[in-house]
Amino acid sequence: MLSLIVFLPIIAGLIILAVPASQKQIIRIVSLLAAIAQGVIAVLIWRHYDPTMAGIIASPGGSPVGSFQLIERIPWISLNLGSFGPMTIEYFIGVDGISITMVLLTALISIIGVLSSWTIQKQVKGYFILFNLLSTAMMGCFVALDFFLFYVFWEIMLLPMYFLIGIWGGPNREYAAIKFFLYTLFGSVFMLLVMIGLYFSVVDPVTGHHTFSLVAMASQENYLKGAILGPDSTMWRTIAFIVLFIGFAIKVPMFPFHTWLPDAHVEAPTPISVILAGVLLKLGTYGMMRINFPLFPEVYHAGLYVIGVFGAINIIYGAFCALAQQDLKKMVAYSSISHMGYVLLGLAAANSEGMLGALYQMFNHGTITAMLFLLVGVIYDRAHTRAIDKFGGLASYMPVYAGLVTVAWFASLGLPGLSGFISEAFVFVGAFTSTTTRPIAMVSVLGIVFGAAYLLWSLQRMFLGKRRPDAAYDLEKDAEGHEHIHFHDWNGKLDLDARELTMLVPLAVIVIALGIYPMPIMGMLTASINKLVTVLAPVAISAVN
């Protein structure tokens, strides 16, 4: 089941490989069908998921795979290294509460991404092959329970992203693509070192051999005393935690490693922005929750304050930078930085409320930001500009678009009744409850105001008031004196067309529904989150050491 959902896009990619490049429609439909099938499987998995099983860690004395679900575990690469003993890399995948939500999000965003890619005209075949490869890699990252497998998927993800930005992007695409690529590669190189270090420090309690299994690594009793990352090697464990954290923080992206994001977003085509903001950023925080924190809980605990401070910097700094932007897409990109700051703050809280808020924020940010980028793409398609000051008064002429923008914008600023509020609220609740992060939370609430400020200001400049003199569209009066607007080089429907509505309305419905009753997603999370918090608690750590 899980393998199917991971490799479906690749199968679609292979089919596309056999389709002649001129058959663009077939290529698109094959991709769409694969994405929809992925979505259906994701929903089936979600329905059959047992939310009472926690996952995270091998249950002591119980099954070595812990309370994960939908496990698939077969040896993948086996080498006999002589004096080092046998080296086994497993194809080991499974889901717990943390990953199931991300799998759902990935499937959802993939469908949206394919639909949004309908307008891509340049080298359609190559585009969709890369797109499907990316989809597989993302899904694989979220279900991998073997560190090596995770690393493989993590690296596979880079390649299509590089080409998708570098070929199908805007005018400055090469710069953005190479920046993204180098930044992420920089992070993952250290990840590789830490991974190898961990391999030689951890022993699978069942086989007695070294292992890459994340489940085994998450239990501190599996670490060898005297090994490089063993329980008594404080210095190396600290260093390993920090470099691993930086590797994931680049993906989040956390200040000061965030500068690739605005460039990548501005240059990337709309569907890639959607994928990038909707799913890829989540991999950073997911990696922290799955790998970074459970493997080094004592370092995590020592660093809570620092993580929280970086979260607060992200929130406020991102909001301020967004306030100063003239480019709508850049503003949305900085808003992503700000919103991912909430996730970091929630993770720094180290309690159930904060963690829950962080994870729920990851899901909500995925849907809301996807909406934001799609809406930016809509106006960019029509006006060929994203300058906020080049509009004005659009609400009168494009009421449906304005309505959906209002929903998305207000969701982004955390209006109650929309999903973004609940996650932000829980992050603050958690961060305030934890005495460590309480002062940080008190400062971070300023982000609520500045978030509202930049969003409302852009909303006003683009949609309210009257048409600006230098606007990117013409104003025409028909015979009856009604005013209409007209975009240059745009012959499609002025307001949203059917395809755009197909993408945006389901997202809006999800955002509203999860804002009113979040349990369908939150219910998946609670057991795993509570378990994670227990595993990370200082009591549990000291008991082992």
Binding site: G393, V429, T433, I448, L464, A537
Partner: protein, 760 residues
């Protein structure tokens, strides 16, 4: 089973939401743009609310009446360190809720009705009703909420609906600015409120009022008392934002950019009162320090906005500042411990202020969107109904005896006097002094307004031409048909508004008369409201109060709400005040175990008549002054203004608050934003690019070695072959003769060799 009243209240809550959903999607497909949907839903909601009011207030007539119901909204599972944790939402119905429910639905219904006349012909007519629907829904949510989280949710939703309604004429830049300003200012307040909620949650892991109150009463608040004061003040900050208290009052006057019915409903009667209502809800956890703070803020607001209202020309702006001023009264009342009086004032104010706004709306409507009082006058004859209702409401606002406003305002002033006495004078006397000064000014500016609008002769013709022009543009923006201004000199075109707009005025004016609330025109405490909504006993331990007494005091108000059963509603008839002191309660209000509260109540009662005399005197003086200035012309307002020009300008420019905020907060924020954006592009990204450049430079160096030394050897071979080939190629001209020359050279060469051999 769910109590039937709870079920009904849920229906009341959801009806306006239904109206919103139907109208926002289908308003263009429905006949009359669906206004009947909005009116019908609100009518039904009001009918149900009236039933609830009847049941709770009239039938039970019990100060301690309270039913509650809650459900688990979120289940967080077995949270480490806390145990099983659920986030609950709930509905509470007590006397205050029942009264507010009826008040909100009534005014909302009246505004709906009124709007069918006032907004007729607007191109977004249907959308207007949709927005009114979501506003009413959110407001009812605030009223019914039983947890801090749900009140915060509805709190923000009211902010949203206020945003949408202020910006209803969003083509106007001023409206777009005003809506943004309102939302952001409210958000600043909301931050404080949210932090307050967080302080309480971090201690008790619950959002429920009752659980928090019980926990505080039980002394489970583990942080220092300063934190509790901070929590109270921070929660009050929500009220500062929503109820437009100093220093966040700046948004409310600008909010008058919205259509006038909206001003009446949201920015006078209901939403802005939500702040006061909320402070009332959390009244019991406010520490004395927090209450002092609240009292001073309220008094300052009341005074400041009264001074501003005196000099304004815009009819709605005067009313807006008067609203701020009255809200300041209410907040001051809460601050001085006069819980009942403050909420009583909330109720009476809602009716007469809604009446005033709707009346001003009628005037504006009749005057073709003329809002400046300087160009009005003499409307008494043209609009008798409006004149009558407006006058009654004005008297109520000014606080003249026989009106509802007199009773509530007097109770607050009496409590303020008593508070100053109890606290030992000094700086605390500032509060009643500011209160009475505001009362005087209120009487003056309302007298001025009534006189300028309704008496004297029409001054339409005095209006400067360019101002006319501006108003034309204004009209266009409103989307109304432009009637033109050809009626110079007399109000030919001014007629009384239709019955659909007149009826709400009459209803509201009726509700501004004393008899509705109390049989004794001089003492509101004898009325049903102050009986049914008694001041609750605080759960905060006063320093001097013995612990046991405080615990005992909490017993009454805090109901047995420990049960977490989601479906179980508890009905309790335990009275707030100890029933055994029933007779005393009749005479002096509730009996408090907390000595400070008891003392305050007693002092308020003692100062009752002092306050009556003083405030009546103030009001009479104020109205008299207005008559002297405007009716008899004994004092020329223009000359007076010139004489005290700095003061006049200070007041006219609203104490320059907008300018101050613009210069500090807004510019500061933008400056920081630009600086950080610069920092981001140039420093952070610059470092990144610098690192990249350094690596590239190094790479070039490395590549140079590789290129010139390592690769050079390889390339040289290729180069040699290529060059020699190129040279050889030159020889191959393709011309036979060239080859012949070479052959001959060779032959001669051999020949020479032969000759040399020969010579040897």
């Amino acid at each position: 089973m769910m109590h039937s009243l709870i079920q009904l209240s849920i229906v009341v809550l959801l009806l306006p939401l239904l109206s919103f959903v139907v109208l926002i999607f289908f308003n263009r497909r429905l006949p009359r743009m669906g206004d009947f949907v909005g009116v019908g839903m609100l009518g039904t909601a009001f009918a149900i609310s009236a039933y609830i009011f009847w049941t709770v207030i009239v039938q039970h007539y019990d100060p301690a009446y309270r039913i509650a119901w809650n459900f688990t909204w979120l289940d967080l599972g077995n949270v480490p360190g806390v145990g099983p944790l659920q986030v609950k939402m709930g509905i509470v119905i007590d006397n205050l809720t029942a009264i507010m429910l009826a008040m909100v639905t009534l005014i909302s219904l009246l505004v709906h009705l009124y709007s069918t006349g006032y907004m007729a012909g607007d191109k977004n007519y249907g959308r207007f009703f949709a927005y009114l629907g979501i506003f009413t829904f959110s407001m009812l949510g605030i009223v019914l909420s039983d947890t801090l989280l749900s009140i915060y949710i509805f709190w923000e939703l009211v902010g949203l609906s206020s945003y949408l309604l202020i910006g209803f004429y969003f083509e106007k830049d001023s409206a777009a600015d005003a809506q943004k300003k309102a939302f952001l200012t409210n958000r600043v307040g909301d931050i404080g409120m949210w932090l307050g909620i967080l302080i309480l949650y971090s201690q008790f892991h619950t959002f429920g009022y009752q659980e928090i109150f019980q926990n505080i009463a039980a002394g489970k608040f583990n942080l220092s008392n300063g934190w509790l004061t901070a929590a109270g003040i921070l929660l009050f900050f929500g009220c500062v934002g929503k109820s437009a208290q100093f220093p966040l009052h700046i948004w409310l006057p600008d909010a008058m950019e919205g259509p006038t019915p909206v001003s009446a409903l949201i920015h006078a009667a209901t939403m802005v009162a939500a702040g006061v209502y909320f402070v009332g809800r959390i009244f019991v956890i406010l520490t004395p320090d927090a209450l002092h703070y609240i009292a001073f803020i309220g008094a300052a607001t009341a005074f400041m906005s009264a001074t501003i209202a005196i000099t304004q020309h815009d009819i709605k702006r005067v009313l807006a500042y008067s609203t701020v001023s009255q809200l300041g009264y209410m907040v001051m009342g809460l601050g001085v411990g006069a819980y009942s009086a403050a909420l009583f004032h909330l109720l009476t104010h809602a009716f007469f202020k809604a009446c005033l706004f709707l009346g001003s709306g009628a005037i504006i409507h009749a005057m073709h969107h003329e809002q400046d009082m300087r160009w009005m006058g003499g409307l008494r004859k043209n609009m008798p109904w409006t004149f009558a209702t407006f006058s009654i409401a004005t008297l109520a606002l000014a606080g003249l005896p026989l009106t509802s406003g007199f009773m509530s305002k007097d109770a607050i002033l009496a409590a303020a006097l008593g508070f100053a006495n109890v606290e030992g004078g000094g700086v605390f006397y500032l509060i009643p002094v500011l209160g009475f000064a505001s009362a005087l000014m209120t009487a003056f500016y309302m007298g001025r307004q009534v006189w300028l609008v309704f008496f004297g002769e029409s001054r339409t013709h005095l209006k400067p031409a360019e101002a006319h022009h501006d108003e034309h543009g204004h009209d266009d923006a409103h989307g109304h048909d432009d009637h033109g201004h050809d009626d110079h000199g007399a109000h030919h075109g001014v007629h009384e508004v239709g019955w659909i707009m007149r009826a709400p005025l009459v209803v509201l004016a009726t509700l501004s008369v004393f008899i509705v609330f109390s049989p004794d025109p001089l003492d509101g405490a004898k009325g049903w409201f102050m009986h049914l909504v008694p001041t609750p006993s605080t759960v905060v331990k006063s320093a001097e109060a013995p612990k046991t007494a405080a615990l005992a005091a909490t017993g009454g108000i805090l109901l047995a709400e420990a049960s977490n059963d989601a479906e179980h509603a508890t009905v309790s008839a335990t009275p707030a005040a100890a029933p055994e002191h029933g007779a005393a309660a009749e005479a002096h209000g509730p009996v408090f175990s907390d000595p400070r509260q008891a003392e305050l109540a007693h002092a308020a009662h003692a100062n009752h008549f002092t306050a009556i005399y003083l405030s009546s005197g103030m009001v009479a003086f104020g109205i008299g002054l207005a008559l002297v200035v405007y009716a008899f012309g004994a004092i020329d307002p223009e000359k007076t203004a010139q004489a005290i020009r700095p003061l006049y300008l200070y007041s006219f420019n609203k104490w320059y608050w907008d300018e101050i905020y613009d210069a500090t907060v807004i510019r500061g924020s933008m400056l920081i934003a630009r600086a950080l954006a610069w920092f981001d592009t140039n420093i952070v990204d610059g470092i990144v690019n610098g690192v990249a450049t350094t690596f590239r430079k190094f790479a070039f160096l490395n590549a140079g070695f590789d290129k010139y030394v390592v690769d050079g050897a390889v390339n040289f071979t290729a180069f040699f072959v290529q060059t020699s080939g190129a040279v050889m190629r030159k020889i191959q001209t393709g011309k036979v003769q060239t080859y012949l020359v070479m052959v001959m050279v060779a032959v001669l060469g051999y020949f020479a060799v032969y000759l040399v051999q020969l010579m040897k």
